[in-house]
Amino acid sequence: MRCYRARGLLRRKAAESLSDSQERRLEEHLGACLACSKLTEEIERAWAALGHLPTVEPSADFLPRLKARLREEDTSSRQGTGPVRSWRWVAVAACVLLAAVFAARFETGRQNPSPEERTAVSARDSNVPDEQFLQDLEEILQQSDVDFLSAYDVWPAVPQDAKDRGTRKAGEADGSKKKERPS
């Protein structure tokens, strides 16, 4: 077996995915190859050497500082005064306040409508025009430049010759289409 194949088997051995026959062949190679057996020995020594890494001792104030932070966290969670919670409450309170302001304005508007709104509402809600409605309507019409009533009363009648012209044009248009159609 070549060394590069043995290295591949070593990797697979580490992943515990070697078959019995592969393991046997690897052992045979390691018994015969000085370089590969030296490599496996060095890997084991390197693993053992990792135990020489010194440990870190946390600073003296680590635990007191942590416990203070935990107490603060605990107090915040009990009272709901943590930074995140308080911001959420501020946001909710602001939304509620805004909604209340809009609702109040809307309600005030409904209770004290403008003359135009009052006119429109009374005209919509009642089929019988009351005195106030008629006065308001007259006032609006007087203020306006357009003569609505005359426009309504004197609706222009369509002259007879105009009616005839309309019929003839329609007939001509129909005939021209027939001419264009291929026989």
């Binding site: 580490a14 992943a15 060095e42 020594r45 390197a46 050497a49 890494l53 010194p54 680590f62 935990l70």
Partner: protein, 202 residues
């Protein structure tokens, strides 16, 4: 049922459950037991003692906040190391992005990817506390030179003595992948300390 069995076999999980039920002394016991290993674990990942302490504090704060939702489905040690791994890797990723940004934007003090930048020195104060000799420094450098996955898998296995299954859960990969990471890590560490191995000083 499984939770009950777990708390019987894992005393730390039982302590966490006791804390969940209002026993604050149980959490103090967990702090006493785990604060050194967690600081050490994070130090081996981020290679800075000050940062390691800050991140360890973050780990315990997260454990504290998670008490209500805690379920002893796994060993407590595996659970807390999972949190510590996530916190450490997030910080390591942030540092990597900062290095990339500084390198690309030519900010002052961005020396490029030399060894001292990849493996920042912990400073004289921490050095005095932590390093006991030349070999310790060499091993520390060898560990810091490992790719992220190899480093996490190797540290969790070698120093925290977690099982392959637990490491696989933490790293969200298969056990075979963990074993491969550890094997590659061993090979890289061997390369890093080869002069010492050849001199027979290890």
């Amino acid at each position: 049922m499984a939770d009950a069995i777990m708390t019987q076999t894992d005393q730390d999980a039982a302590l966490m459950v006791a804390f969940q039920n209002g026993d604050s002394t149980a959490f103090d016991q967990l702090l006493d037991k785990y604060h050194r290993p967690i600081v050490n674990f994070i130090y081996r990942i981020v290679n800075n003692s000050g940062e390691a302490e800050e991140l360890a504090q973050e780990v315990f704060l997260r454990v504290f906040r998670a008490r209500q939702g805690y379920e002893p489905k796994a060993r407590f040690a595996a659970w807390i190391y999972r949190i510590a791994t996530n916190v450490s890797l997030k910080e390591a990723g942030r540092k990597r992005r900062m290095r990339f940004w500084n390198h690309n934007h030519g900010s002052e003090g961005a020396p490029g990817l030399d060894l001292q930048e990849v493996i920042p020195d912990p400073g004289p104060d921490a050095e005095r506390r932590m390093i006991s000799g030349e070999l310790g420094r060499v091993i520390r450098r060898a560990i810091q030179g490992l790719p992220r996955n190899e480093r996490v898998a190797l540290v969790l296995r070698r120093y925290e003595e977690l099982s392959y299954r637990e490491i696989a859960d933490i790293m969200e990969c298969t056990e075979a992948a963990v074993k491969t990471y550890i094997h590659r890590g061993k090979l890289h560490v061997r390369e890093g300390i080869l002069p010492y191995l050849e001199k027979g000083r290890v």
